[in-house]
Symmetry: C2
Subunit: 243 residues, 2 copies
Amino acid sequence: MTFDDSNAIGRFIRKLDGLAALPDRDKAALRALPLRLKRVPANHMLVREGDTVNECSILLDGFACRHKDTSGGHRQIVSFHLPGDILDLQHLWLSRADHNVETLTAGRIALIATADLRRLAEERPAIDRAFWRDALIDASIFREWVLNVGGRDGKSRIAHMLCEFGARWQAAGLGSPDRFELPMTQQVIAEATGMSLVHVNRMLQELDRSGAIVRDKRVVEIVDWDRMREIADFDPAYLHAAA
Amino acid sequence: MTFDDSNAIGRFIRKLDGLAALPDRDKAALRALPLRLKRVPANHMLVREGDTVNECSILLDGFACRHKDTSGGHRQIVSFHLPGDILDLQHLWLSRADHNVETLTAGRIALIATADLRRLAEERPAIDRAFWRDALIDASIFREWVLNVGGRDGKSRIAHMLCEFGARWQAAGLGSPDRFELPMTQQVIAEATGMSLVHVNRMLQELDRSGAIVRDKRVVEIVDWDRMREIADFDPAYLHAAA
DNA sequence: CGTAGGTTTGACTGATCTCAAGTTTGGTGG
DNA sequence: CCACCAAACTTGAGATCAGTCAAACCTACG
């Protein structure tokens, strides 16, 4: 496993710092954590529902999602993740995985023993606070997704997903929220919004035709945020300014 | 505010104890917490989206839910709560409410300052652990709800909701999971499952006719758990044996 | 330049919604 | 104890959003 990891977890630390203003010694302690670095290919399962997990994964590069499946074969994505995100903080205190974690693209992850993270949080209040905030914001996003799939129509659902992605794209330091590349197929969008692939395709075209977005391959440009916010019923408050 | 509160928070402490095996001195510390007790009527808003909240509410008696609304007027319930549940642990670290908390029935709640809870968690590892587990299980339930509203058909959705309610009814010490009274109208079930009232009514009748459940007013008896589990695609693992 | 994966289109189907009208239930005052 | 009222529940019929099936079309890449 050789690649440039001189500052591999920099984005992660920046994110925690944004959540709870870490003192320099806390950042140093994070950098000093023993971690296993891994390159992972696209569409690679990192955690499987039912696994016993004693490490948390941090996404250094690339994109990932978490999903659950019904016995009938419907796959529901419950969250997307961008570089810097902790993929499974829940394993800090719950060792049995209740859902799957999978990469969307090739990337790099860092694995840290939950015992190490717990000790760190115990000793360093700012880190504890950052972990708490991260977990609670995670939950807030799930609530918004329940509303999204339960209460919005197809066009609105997809628009909402795009707005969230743009907002988090920016929060993760990847660039402007107005223009980003979706690291996923339309099938994946369908799995995240609880819609069929065909309908996703048609609703994307409608958003395009309505002038709210312009698509070029998988690059999405939100050309009219006001209209987009209205179509999507998007209010970023649920991201608590830090997701 | 006068009512028998000699052991009002007993159920809450029992729940935390189940999550993290509290030493007696931790239980005593919980009992010693300064708290505001309140009687609340049915359909009473405890927290409104956007509020700044510096207390956490514990549901002592009665039932409650949390919900969000779209600008189009669709109300989506994102969770139900039974006696002993913390209604808004997220306010421990996020003071801005991102959703509403409302009672379903008349009941009693205890309000505890988040500062007090944070101090307690800092000093007492078992309590910290219990809070963490509670928050993480809360999130796990949200994920299952995303799957439920995003990936299951009407009949299955309602069946799943009933299975979860039965399981938590038992976990809360209210009785057998086979027979319970739903403290809500069919309209409320519709808001939780993202369905129309009319369709909820029809799907309940189908569950009844199929022999999985028997209804009498709002009392539901699950007479065939095997069939119900199959219809609902219900696997209680996501409750982490403690919700 | 062939192939596989991804996207787009068309036609048909169906689950679920909406609207609207009953019917039953539970609570309240006489 | 009964009459009444509002809320909750049930039923029917028609409309529609979204799903399924099937085929065609891109486009990246070996």
